[in-house]
Symmetry: C2
DNA sequence: TATTGTTATACTCTATAACTATA
DNA sequence: TATAGTTATAGAGTATAACAATA
């Protein structure tokens, strides 16, 4: 192992930063944070703005704005909670699912193309790494 | 393998985005892009603004500004090139190395802490994944 | 009083377009 | 003409602080 843990941390962060920048201006259908929110609602079906903010590690006002934009475009639906009228349950609309699908295809073209140059072992490694990072990010 | 390639691409991107956000407001000594530039100059010793822009996948004006800020703070030195007077060779200063070291310690505290919960095999996986991503980002 | 969500405001980082100087 | 770097300007995404409505 040529890497100490602090170096590893720096290398991972550096790679992630560049990847995010690289992919950011790749697709035009959906900006990255809209994309991420729709993906959550596609998996979870119903979440509040606060839950989404926590999941994406973004402030409440920031998520409120994102959610507002998505609702304006008709990609998500807001349903006030019956039992707790402060809460607003969010779900993805049919249009939202469509745009998500289109966005996925467009956004990931570059990366899918790059992943084709990987060996099956390398794909396994990336798959495992994504799972590990997910776990690390979930805690704390 | 439960993942198709497009799903893998999406998962990796998602994990990277959240990691970048998580780490962004972790340290206060150095903003992320200043940090990245100093790290490049620490490794490479001498680079131009254009080279740094390409390395970080950022526009020339954006890097020009970052470089200007770092120079104002005395963290990097600008030496006009003798043979081509348009070029300005950039190198990290002693102060720059110090702040980089301090920044690394501060910035990576959270991640180093998280990495302690990983098994040696998981650390290997992350190490390999960072290398693979570096390679993918280098091409195109 | 505490919590969910919003509005108001400002900051950071980025981009494109237009400019200066050297090649 | 082309290239390295800068300045001018604008936009996207984020934050904190202060607010409304509900618990």
């Amino acid at each position: 192992m040529p890497n100490t843990t602090p170096e590893l941390a720096a290398n991972i962060r550096s790679a992630c930063m560049r990847l995010v920048r690289r992919v950011r201006y790749q697709g035009t259908t959906l900006p990255p944070h809209h994309f991420a929110v729709l993906a959550w609602l596609d998996r979870r079906d119903s979440m509040t703005s606060a839950e989404l903010a926590a999941a994406e590690r973004v402030s409440a006002p920031s998520m409120s704005r994102t959610v507002g934009e998505l609702a304006d475009k008709g990609f998500i639906e807001r349903t006030p909670d019956e039992s707790d009228k402060r809460r607003i349950n969010l779900s993805i609309s049919t249009e939202g699912r469509e745009i998500l699908k289109a966005g996925r295809k467009e956004r990931d073209t570059w990366m899918v193309e790059r992943l084709k140059t990987c060996t099956p072992e390398e794909l396994d490694t990336l798959h495992d790494a994504a799972d590990i990072l997910d776990r690390l990010l979930q805690e704390h």
